[in-house]
Structure formats: structure tokens, C-alpha cells
Amino acid sequence: MVDKKDFPNPEAFKKQILEKYPTKVARKRAKAMVVVDEEGSAPIVQANVRTVPGIITQRGCSYAGCKGVVLGPTRDIINITHGPIGCGFYSWLTRRNQTKPDEGGENYMAYCFSTDMQEENIVFGGEKKLREAIQEAYDMFHPKAISVFATCPVGLIGDDIHAIAAQAKEKFGDCNVFAFSCEGYKGVSQSAGHHIANNQIFKHVVGNDDTVQEGKYKINLLGEYNIGGDAFEIERILDLCGISLISTFSGNSSIDHFANSHTADLNTVMCHRSINYMADMMETKFGIPWIKVNFIGAEATAKSLRKIAAYFEDKKLIDRVEEVIKAELPAVEEVISTIKPKTEGKVAMLFVGGSRAHHYQELFTEIGMETVSAGYEFGHRDDYEGREVLPSIKLDADTRNIEELKVDKDPERYNPRKTPEQLEKLSKQKGLDFAGYHGMSKEMKKGSMVIDDISQWETEKWIEYYKPAVFCAGIKEKYAVQKMGVPLKQLHSYDYGGPYAGFKGAINFYKDIERITTTRVWSLISPPWDYSNGIKADLVSNG
């Protein structure tokens, strides 16, 4: 078992880390590293603020959050990056969003579309080129939708991408065209891009198709991007339970599903950070309540299924869900029983994303490992401390620059799925916490270290301190950490494995963690002659 004696005083070590920084930087970073001083409580952490220039951050940009994360997994929209070539190139197929179109269906995910702006487009404006590019895409492929993503220079030169999109849409008649002002300098991380993506999809797509799908228990899954097939596993489980998935934002998705998503009766939110805006807006406009779920971890999956069943208040569904859980869990438990003896008591650190650093703690707990330190790359305070703190978060200039859509009840289609009394009852009796999320920190043990936007320097130092059995982060961190002799599990790309969601995913994860923490290669790092063998031995024995 992890013994707190091993990590007696993280505060003192934190001081040591900060000593290296110039004073102003130290002051700022001090607020982003906080100790959980009481179980079940969340310390105030500085989050969603500008990264200090030069600090070597994990973070990316708003474009990456918008085009890469939220819209990346959409297969039947032609996503055109408006900008010089790089931004589009780097977001081309690098996020492992899997998708499975119907036989013969549209799928543009293997393509990278860009206006590849040249100097003259920067000097004289890129509108003409963008207009032509949209036209060319339309003429060649006749897609049902085209979207445009602005990169940094575009905002600066003032191309009116929204007007161009609107004109194109009008002209084509049979193709939805819309644009995202997700220039990389907006906000302080990918997070701004998520919000921008939510806004535009909500404005231009959600509610476009009122067809009512068959199915009794209709939900949307928000904030699940089908990395490594996670969404497939979740779909499998929901299917077994008889729950109909109207849409997923946006793993294995089609724009048609988005358009129809307002016909679902419940929104379930996986990644709170990237998609809570959508859940809120759909509730306001269409009256669909939302709950936070988590399909990472077998227990968490079971719990989430039970919540969904409880919401529909139908015994048939409640029983069915229990049957499914009962059928799925033995396989999970069997694997845990063989793996846990080898992983129990080991220590993990998680620094990734905006929800994964929270969700994955479940999986580690299931195999007896403790997360001693964790933090997000682009989370906000509510992702750490819970939505309770939302009213007390002061918006800074960087956040105020991101549009907050004003949403009203839809005059015809607003249809509250439950009465306030019903919601109240469900929340009291079944513990359904509508529009609630309690954040990561409260679930961490006393003495754990919460760190937002960890820097390379801090990463190396905290590894020295905790000597974890596994460190979870992304590709940029991977090999530096491994060079320190510590296995790094990528939790953006899963190191090209997965799925890790649901019951089968949990099994995959346990096995992968067992493998990387016990593989023999770590014992091969030092050559034998490091231990006075060969000639050294001779020298020693001679004198």
C-alpha cells in the first residue's frame, strides 16, 4: 500500500521547485500547485489562466480544441482549415478518433483540407481564396456540410469567415456551411476552442432535424470522442441495456445525429470541460436535463448506467441494466483478481486533458493503485472544485473574449422532459445530480497534490519526489519521462491501444498498466559493466 510516510511533506518540496523560478513566476505557479488537505474537500486552485511564456507547457491552442478535439471526429463534414498549411497538417488524423460510417456513407476523416494561405493571401486578405476553396470542395464532393476553421493569422487580417460561410450555404442550398473563429490566440488553451465549437454546432446544426427516432430511452452522450474505440464499447453496452443513443458529441458521429440530438430525453456528459456548454444550452432551449456520467472504470460505468436507468424511472430498464452489469462484471473481476496483487500499492500521477485526469483515477483505484498527484492541461476551477464554485469564478479578459451565446427557450420545441418536482424527487431519492459535477479534487486522498498546467520543470521534479510506477500524460511528455526510467501511459492517444471505456475497456487498461509497470525492459537500462565487471573488476582486484 502507498504509505503517506513516503511523501511526508509535499509543501516543502513544492517550495524547492518554486525556488528555481523567477519571483513573479514562482508566485503565479504557487497558486497552481495545491495540496488536498482534507478528504472530500477541494482546495482552491488557479486554473484556466495564461501560461507563463517560456515555461514549457503541455498546452495547445484554441484551434486544436475546436478543430482537433470537438470537430475532429466528425466524419461527414468537410473541415477546411483556413490558414497556412501547418495547423491543418498537424491535426490531420493524429488524434485517433475512430469512426464507422454506414456502408458507402460519407467519411472525410482521412482527408486534410486547407486553404494553404500564401503570402499574398496574408497581405491582400484570404477571403477570395476561402470562397474558392469552399466552392471547390463542394463541386468535387457534394458533402452535406462544410465547416471552416480560422487559424491565428486569419483573425488578424480580418477575413470575415462567417459571412463567406453564410453566402456559400445560401448559394448551394443543399449543403450546410458554417465557420469557427477559433484562432489559436483565443483564450489560454484548447479550452477556448471547445467553447467556440459548442457554440457554432449549437447555432448551426442542433435542432435542424425534428424527426423523432424510435426507442424508449433516448439519450445523447456528450464529450466522448471515440479515441481508440471508446465510443464503440459504450455503444455496445447501451445497446445491451436497450438505451437508444441519438447522438454522440462527437465520437463516431454524423452531423445528422447532431441535427437530431434535441429529440433525446437526457443528456449524459462525459468530458465536462469540453462540452458542458452544449448540455446547458440544450437544456435551456429544449428542456433536456443533463447529468454527469463516467464510463471510465468498471464501477463508474455501472454507476453511470444505473443513473441513466433511474432517470427514466422504468422498472424494465432498471432491471435490464442490472442484468447487463451482472453479466459484464465477472470478466472484469476475474482480471482484477490476477492483476491487483501486482499493482496494489503502486503510485500513479496523471496530468492530462480536462477530464481524463479525474476519470482515470477510477481505473487505478480498481487495481489498487493510488493517484498521488494529478492535474489538468486545460481544466477550469469547476473541473477541480466542482460546479459549485462557478458563481465565484471571476472572468478574466481571456475568457471574456470567448462568446457566450444567449440562449432562450425554443418557442415551439421547448419541452421540459421532467417537471421541477420530478427532478427534485429524482435528485433526493435517487441521488441524480442534475447539471452537477463535483470535480476531481474532492475524490483525491488527503495529502495529494493537485497541479494545474504542469510545466516540464515541475514534471521532472515531482517525478523525482514521487517516483511513480506510472505517469500519465501526452506525447510531448512521453519520452522525457520514460528516459527517467518511468513508464508513461499516454491518455490522449492511449499509446495506440484501447478502448479503455466501459467494461471491456477497463480490462484493457488493467492489462496495459500491469504490462508497462512490470515489463522486464526497465531492468535492462544499466549495462553489467556499470557494476565493476570486466576490466573494472580486474582493476579493482589488482589494486
Binding site: G54, T94, E119, C152
Partner: protein
């Protein structure tokens, strides 16, 4: 079909690039800067570019790629990035303690018009650059050229920042390699050492991006050209510049600045380009070519004489960077293969000229395109119209290879799904052997896979 929407009918596109055969300047600048010992690349712009460039290089090398960013926000894009850069310089020297910071710009800072030289001068005045430490700079707007241009621009920055001429000439050559792999840089050094030539090579990413697992992470690995070496290159007797797109500008600058003449050579890929490199080394280094090199060469030719039947007449589609494509095409022609389609997103008129010259007898109807809209989509369209026997290019080719069922040799940047490229060279005679082994393996595996049972061969 993964690329199910690719249409066989080729229509001219004016604005839309699909599946680019290039990427943007800063990543080249970052790569070049990593070939300097003790240097931390710095991206002056929003942090997304830096994250993307580091990720792309990391996926290709499976090694740590450290770089910092000015982390522009909306405010910096309105008011300019001066304070961000000065702050970054101060933080980097304090926290990460490099000897050199190599700043490159991004589209954003270029569009804003930040004057990096002036900002660096101000940082110096403000005392943010410690004694004995350096900040060098390259302007790398991605709306010009490609990643190759960025590499070239950083080499210019290196020459500008370090090359000096003293009164004492040195009996040494400069070798400036184009964007090739660490293994290639190592091989170029090995060849020069075999000839007994004294030289300075920059950049040099060997022992940086192929660093050993030691159980310790160091920000600045063993490898990379040192400051002392860089400073001495102005006193060298001559420069061998390998690859026009990547290295000519730097070689020219060095000539202008320190009067060091240069030989503009191809990257030594294949027999003839390696021959020319060795001849140049021998001539300008005033050394004989040792018998061991002659033997290496002989082994390559021997393989070709033995296996020529499997290569003859095979058609190839290639995409990548001019400096490596041109000698590779020359080599393929020497193997009696037929490079049929060649695409590069990197602009430059000479690309077509040079290739047409190389192919005028062997493949007069070859299709060649470069610059904007010369992309992998176009190449795939050509393939749909008339198939080829082999694809050579970066990892993105695997989608075409699978859809069209064509053998595929990974060469170029990025290679995201195999290892080897950073450890085994493709330059020099050894590299030629490796290319041959790979191509032959692909064709023979294919023959084994497709042969009817009655004509399945044991000996080939």
C-alpha cells in the same frame, strides 16, 4: 476504402489543398535548432504551433523534443509579442539553462510584424541574456515555402549568430546536411571520418534525437554541433552544402560573411550522389579515397547486379522534399526503375527542371508537380488513373497503399508508424544498401503473397 472520396478525374484546383505533401516552416527551424548542442528551440507565437511541432517531431523520433513558446494571447496579438518574448527568454535561461535559445517565428508573430532582432537586443540591454549565452533567430512565416524553408532559415540564423572569421584559417571543411535523419547525419560523419577529413558539421541531430535510454533525462543530450565548432566554421577552407533547398542559403551567407566557398551538392542518396559527395570530400579535403569506401560502393553495385531483374521497369510514385527526392529519383533510375509520379508541396522552379532532366530518357512522360496544391490527393488521382508498383513517401501514404494495394516504402517526414528511420541511414553506400534491401523485400514479399501455389518460389 479509407480514401473513398478521391475522384479519378483530375481538375485544376486553385484554392483548396487536400492531403498536403509539406508542412510549415517552424517545424524545420525547430528540427535544425535541435542539432545544435545545448540549444532550446523557442516558438514565438501562440502556444498551439509549438505544441503541434513538438508533437509531430516526437511522434516521428519517439524521443523527447523540448521547445518553449511565447504563449501569445489575444492581447499579445494586438499589442505585439515583445513582452512575451523578453519574459520567455528570462524564464528559459533561469529555469532550463540552455546555452542557446533559437527563436523562430510563427505565422502569427510574422503577421503582427514583431521585430525579433530588436526584441532580442532589448532583452540583452535589459540583462535578460546571461554572459556567455546566446539568442539566435530565424524568421519562419509559414505562408512562404514549407518546413524545408524553415530548416533553411534556421541554418541562416545559425550562420548569422555564430560564424566568425579570425585570422587563422583552419584546415577543415564545413558540411551542411539538408533535413535528413539523425542516422544520416551520423553516416555522413562516418564517411568523412573514413576519408580522414577534418570537418565541422551543422546541424547534427545524431545523439540528440536518437539518444540512448540511460535512466536519466537530460534537457540537452550529448549530440549537436557545439558553439566552438560553429564559431570556427568561418575559418574553414570550404563548405560542402548537401541539398539546395535546405542548405544553399546558409552556405551562401557563410561565403558572403566569411569568404568560405561552397560546393552545392545533392544529399548523398544512391550511388551517384554519394560518388559526388565523396569526390568533393576528397578534392576539397585533399585526401585519397580509402579502399574501404571503394569496397562499400562495390557491395552496393554488387547487390544491384545480382537482383536487377526484380527492379527493372517497376514504376514508382514518390512524394516528399526536393532535396531528398531528387537524388532518390536519380538512384531509382540507376536501378532501372521508373519514377512516374513525383509530388512535393515545397515550391521552387528547379524541382521540375532537375527531375525532368533526370527523367528525360528513362521516363519522359513522368508527372511532376510541386508547390501549393501539389498534394497527395493529386498524386492519388494520378494513381487511380494508372497504378504504380511502389509508393515511396511519409506515413500518410499508408492510406493510399491500403486502398490501392500497392507496396509502400516509408521515407521522409513524418514517419509515425514504424521505427528505423532515425537509426539506420539512407545516405551513403550503406544507406543505398538499406534502400535496396527494403525495396527488394517489398517486391519479393508481394510476389510470395500473390504467386499461385504451383509457381511459388523457394529461391529468388
Amino acid at each position: 476504402m479509407l480514401l473513398r472520396h478521391t475522384l479519378p478525374e483530375v481538375k485544376e484546383r486553385k484554392a483548396l489543398t487536400i492531403n498536403p505533401a509539406k508542412t510549415c516552416q517552424p517545424i524545420g527551424a525547430m528540427y535544425a535548432a535541435l542539432g545544435i548542442h545545448g540549444c532550446l528551440p523557442h516558438s514565438h507565437g501562440s502556444q498551439g504551433c509549438c505544441a503541434y511541432h513538438r508533437s509531430a517531431l516526437t511522434r516521428h523520433y519517439k524521443e523527447p523534443v523540448m521547445a518553449a513558446t511565447s504563449s501569445f494571447t489575444e492581447g499579445s496579438s494586438v499589442f505585439g509579442g515583445q513582452s512575451n518574448l523578453i519574459q520567455a527568454i528570462n524564464n528559459i535561461f533561469t529555469i532550463y539553462e540552455p546555452d542557446i535559445i533559437a527563436v523562430h517565428t510563427t505565422c502569427l508573430s510574422e503577421t503582427i510584424g514583431d521585430d525579433v532582432d530588436q526584441i532580442v537586443a532589448k532583452a540583452k540591454d535589459d540583462g535578460k541574456i546571461p554572459e556567455g549565452k546566446y539568442v539566435i533567430h530565424a524568421s519562419t512565416p509559414s505562408y512562404q515555402g514549407s518546413h524545408v524553408t524553415g530548416y533553411a532559415n534556421m541554418l541562416k540564423g545559425i550562420v548569422k549568430g555564430f560564424a566568425q572569421k579570425s585570422d587563422i584559417p583552419r584546415e577543415q571543411l564545413n558540411i551542411i546536411p539538408a533535413w535528413v535523419e539523425p542516422a544520416d547525419m551520423r553516416e555522413i560523419k562516418r564517411i568523412a571520418n573514413m576519408l580522414g577529413v577534418k570537418f565541422v558539421m551543422f546541424p547534427d541531430t545524431s545523439d540528440v534525437l536518437d539518444a540512448p535510454q540511460t535512466g536519466k533525462h537530460v534537457m540537452y543530450p550529448e549530440g549537436g554541433t557545439t558553439i566552438a565548432e560553429l564559431e570556427s566554421c568561418g575559418d574553414s577552407s570550404y563548405t560542402l552544402a548537401l541539398g539546395e533547398w535546405c542548405t544553399q542559403a546558409a552556405a551562401q551567407d557563410l561565403d558572403r560573411k566569411c569568404k568560405v566557398g561552397y560546393d552545392m551538392l545533392d544529399v548523398p542518396i544512391g550511388i551517384k550522389a554519394t560518388d559526388r559527395f565523396i569526390m568533393s570530400l576528397s578534392r576539397h579535403g585533399k585526401v585519397e579515397v580509402p579502399a574501404l569506401i571503394t569496397a562499400e560502393r562495390g557491395r552496393v553495385v554488387d547487390i544491384v547486379t545480382d537482383m536487377e531483374q526484380y527492379l527493372h521497369g517497376k514504376t514508382v510514385a514518390l512524394w516528399g522534399d526536393p532535396d531528398t527526392l531528387i537524388p532518390l529519383v536519380e538512384f531509382l533510375v540507376d536501378l532501372e526503375m521508373k519514377p512516374k509520379y513525383i509530388v512535393s508541396g515545397t515550391p521552387g522552379k528547379k524541382f521540375k527542371q532537375k527531375l525532368e532532366e533526370l527523367l528525360k530518357d528513362a521516363v519522359p512522360d513522368a508527372k511532376i508537380a510541386n508547390g501549393p496544391q501539389a498534394d497527395m490527393y493529386l498524386m492519388h488521382q494520378w494513381i487511380k488513373n494508372e497504378k504504380v508498383d511502389l509508393l515511396i513517401g511519409n506515413t500518410y501514404g499508408k492510406y493510399i497503399a491500403r486502398d490501392e494495394d500497392i507496396p509502400f516504402l516509408r521515407m521522409g517526414f513524418p514517419i509515425l508508424d514504424r521505427i528505423g528511420h532515425s537509426y539506420f541511414p539512407t545516405v551513403g553506400y550503406t544507406g543505398a544498401m538499406r534502400i535496396l534491401e527494403k525495396i527488394l523485400g517489398l517486391f519479393m514479399d508481394r510476389q510470395d503473397r500473390d504467386a499461385p501455389e504451383e509457381s511459388f518460389e523457394l529461391v529468388m
